[in-house]
């Protein structure tokens, strides 16, 4: 097979000069087009970012003005400078941190445990097809049930504290995790299964070499979904237990009619949840580097 360079090498000097002249022109044109494209792309993202920032600023300014001028009820909706003041005071005197710490801890433990347990359950269902046949309708029913409604039972059973909040979070995340991952296990292309079966692979080898690594992207994606679900479990759990945590602050603020406390806790939850989500997204990128799906 001859490639274009070799062909060019076989041609007379004059023709080559001509061709290379045209090539330079073409290269210049292409560089120019690419530069324009990059400029446009940069402009679009700069514009999007500027709009995002202005929207946020406008919202905060409007909220502040509305609160101070009593366009809205400041008792109910508070306003940003009051929130900031509240956050600043509690950060400085240190009273905020135990709440943040407790909530973050419960969330992390809850969602890791939920994802892990869900994966193990999915593996068991895959290993014993008869079990999956039997439990299929139960999983569907459990999945459509509001799991947080089981909260009171856990609190009585495990005591009002860390354990029952983690248990509620586990319940919220585990069923959907099991269903998602088990479905992925079953969807692995039968061609891959055939490849290892033809080499005489045992069921354990099939799982270890094909099913589990093939489901990796779905497991990580489930981790992302579970970050969000775990927050629901933890906050509701703290509502019910009402001892410590950001959820407790919200329920306490509600009871003493301190909505500045309620809203400032929400702001903290927003910040911490975003950080956790970004961490998982980063983890996903690290773990699935190198290979991608066809």
């Amino acid at each position: 097979m001859r490639n274009p360079e070799q062909q060019a090498a076989g041609e007379p000097e004059s023709e080559r000069a001509e061709v290379s002249g045209a090539q330079e022109e073409r290269a210049a044109l292409m560089d120019d087009l690419y530069a324009k494209h990059k400029r446009n792309a940069r402009r679009t993202s700069a514009l999007a970012f500027a709009t995002q920032v202005s929207l946020l600023v406008a919202f905060i300014v409007l909220w502040e003005a509305a609160g101070r001028n009593k366009w809205i009820d400041p008792l109910l909706f508070s306003f940003p400078s009051k929130l900031l003041d509240q956050l600043w005071t509690t950060m400085m005197d240190g009273s905020l941190w135990p709440h943040v710490g407790a909530t973050v801890m419960e969330t992390i433990v809850g969602f890791l445990l939920g994802t892990l347990t869900g994966t193990v359950l999915a593996a068991i269902l895959w290993w014993f097809p008869f079990l999956s046949r039997v439990f299929d309708p139960y999983l569907v029913v459990l999945n459509s049930m509001p799991k947080v409604a089981l909260g009171p039972i856990f609190i009585v059973g495990l005591g009002p504290g860390f354990a029952s909040i983690v248990a509620i979070t586990l319940m919220v995340t585990v069923i959907i995790t099991t269903i998602n991952i088990y479905n992925r296990f079953r969807e692995i292309d039968s061609g891959y299964v055939k490849v290892v079966r033809l080499f005489g692979a045992s069921r354990l080898q099939l799982f270890r070499l094909v099913i589990l690594p093939g489901s990796f992207p779905v497991i990580i994606a489930t981790l992302k979904v579970n970050v969000g679900l775990a927050w629901v479990g933890v906050i509701v759990g703290e509502f019910l237990v009402a001892k410590i945590g950001l959820g407790y602050q919200i329920i306490y603020g509600f009871q003493v009619f301190n909505f500045t406390l309620v809203l400032s806790s929400l702001v903290v939850i927003g910040v911490v949840a975003t950080v956790m989500y970004q961490l998982v997204a980063w983890l996903e990128k690290r773990l699935t580097e190198g290979w991608r799906e066809r």
């Binding site: 292309d189 061609g191 891959y192 055939k194 490849v195 290892v196 079966r197 033809l198 080499f199 005489g200 692979a201 080898q205 070499l209 094909v210 690594p213 093939g214 990796f216 190198g290 290979w291 991608r292 799906e293 066809r294």
Partner: protein
């Protein structure tokens, strides 16, 4: 069965049973493949070609009849049999080297020494330097060559080829046909190829078996005459007798369609 037989099917029938009922896939198949022989199975879709190959590989037992490999009956997948699928099915999360070594890993023979053999095969099949790349970085033809390396490193005595070239461009396909025939010939391996492509069957094989359908049965065996038989696939296609041979096969397949195989088929 004598010593020179590598593979044999004896009065073999297979019924697929599913939720919609039972269907007879193949019936009364008797076939023997000699050591070092290259046999092709051709026939219309639904004639049970892939079923026969799966039965030979021991993926599932036949409903009645026997499968023999060398002097032993087949009851499950054996390390003596290698299988190439229509698609490469390389694992996207493994490097080329680790993909080619997956058979060794499963059979528990992966070691520094056998990994050298893996590298040797990759080199031999024109994939030297690609060992640490990932499948998505390779072209379709290269990937199918990795699949061939994966099949060969476990040193099977018999190769079952399930339309391994059908998804490739004509040019790449002919190159690979050549590579496979040359490699298998050098090692003296026995091969059974399933294909839709009559010229591929004629160019690569020592013997072509035409299957009929409803249910799958052996309709005709055509021994490939010299010199086509001993000429490599690309050159064989240019030989004077090749066109006649191709037409003979074509006529057989046409007869399958017009004959009793003509009734409606799911």
């Amino acid at each position: 069965m004598n010593d020179s037989t590598a593979l044999a099917l004896r009065r073999l029938s297979h019924v697929y049973v599913g939720d919609k009922g039972a269907s007879l896939a193949v019936e009364g198949i008797d076939l023997a493949v000699a050591k070092g022989e290259f046999v092709s199975l051709v026939g219309p879709s639904g004639c049970g070609k892939t079923t026969l190959l799966s039965l030979l590989a021991g993926l599932f037992p036949p409903t009645t009849g026997e499968v023999w490999l060398g002097g032993e009956r087949v009851f499950g997948p054996s390390p003596k049999v290698g299988y190439m699928l229509q698609q490469d099915y390389l694992f996207p999360w493994r490097t080329i080297r680790d993909n080619a070594a997956v058979g060794l890993e499963i059979q528990g023979t992966k070691s520094k020494e056998t990994m050298k053999k893996v590298d040797g095969w990759l080199e031999e099949l024109g994939l030297g330097g690609s060992g640490y790349r990932y499948p998505h970085e390779l072209s379709g033809g290269m990937r199918q060559r990795v699949a061939l390396a994966r099949t060969l490193v476990t040193e099977p005595e018999v190769l079952l080829l399930d339309e391994p070239f059908s998804a490739l461009d004509l040019h790449i396909k002919m190159q690979l046909e050549e590579l496979v025939v040359e490699t298998l010939g050098k090692l003296g391996k026995t091969a059974v190829l399933v294909t839709h492509d009559l010229s591929e069957a004629a160019a690569m094989s020592d013997r072509v078996i035409v299957l009929g359908r409803n249910p799958g049965h052996i309709r005709k065996e055509i021994a490939i005459p010299e010199p086509i038989r001993s000429t490599d696939p690309i050159e064989a296609r240019k030989l004077p007798g090749f066109q006649t041979l191709f037409e003979e096969l074509w006529a057989e397949l046409d007869a399958v369609d017009e004959g009793k195989g003509g009734e409606s088929h799911a």
